[in-house]
Amino acid sequence: MKNLIKILPLVSFLLLQSCATIVSGSRQTVKFNSIPAAATVFINEVEVGKTPVEKDLKRNQEYQVLIKMDGYKSYKTTLSKKFNEWYIGNIVFGGLIGLVVDPITGAMYKLTPNELTARLENDNSDVVFKDGGKDIHISVSLNIDPTWEKVGQLEKAE
């Protein structure tokens, strides 16, 4: 019993070194919402479901998020890894174990944003609608591809 009393604080001290790993864990649940709902969510081009959806992600990576829905412009963003304040707990409690363990498990990071809501804008290009059941109207809007580089301009001849 005496030995247990002696060992217990030592074991607790050693275990509590990996502060962020214990408090936050190596994974983080990120919520994805959209307005309107039922848009398809892709993380790193892997389909994960329709909004609202939650996904458990490893904290030590950055993720590209794409939210898509027919008739709406796609929403793109990045989940970035930021410093997790719980990592400082290792310094407060002392010792080097947590300083090593937390980066290995990824717990020294937190993914931001933790919850994402995409407001999807109407995409008015290529809209087809019927008028009175007889005629078909097609609306087409041409947008400049953001990857294009302007190299010149044509002028109207006199």
Binding site: N44, E45, K58, P103
Partner: protein, 126 residues
């Protein structure tokens, strides 16, 4: 002690794998909507392709973000930036007692055909 702590902290913060790149034939950037095929060691390259460059992913010693999926995702991003639509793994070392990281040698190619029809590696989330 202070110096040791800061050295350790700086080292631990650099958790990405070390990447060496060499581009010989850079092409116009690809958009996110243009598909990039990820070919593992066992997958075969199609004919009539243009080599864009090479990538080498190594363990920096402090790398933690170095799973196969994570490296392939980084390679795909680099491929798009340099106009390649095929990422081909030509050398692969799995995690072992020397390193907890995948270490990959990758070649990037441009293929004019439909890359989605090629047998390829399906990326998953870790």
């Amino acid at each position: 002690m202070k110096k040791l702590f800061f050295l350790l902290l700086i080292g631990l913060v650099s958790c990405s794998p070390k990447i060496k790149s060499n581009f010989t034939n850079t092409q116009p950037k690809l958009s996110i909507d243009q598909e990039v095929a990820l070919l593992d060691i066992d997958h075969h390259l199609p004919e009539n392709i243009l080599k864009i460059g090479n990538l080498k992913f190594q363990d920096s010693g402090f790398s933690t973000d170095c799973s196969f999926n994570s490296i392939m995702n980084q390679a795909r991003k680099t491929a798009r930036e340099n106009g390649a639509n095929i990422v081909k793994v030509v050398g692969k070392k799995k995690p072992d007692i020397w390193s907890s990281c995948y270490r990959l040698d990758i070649e990037l190619y441009k293929f004019e055909g439909d890359v989605s029809s090629l047998p390829q590696y399906e990326l998953t989330l870790d």
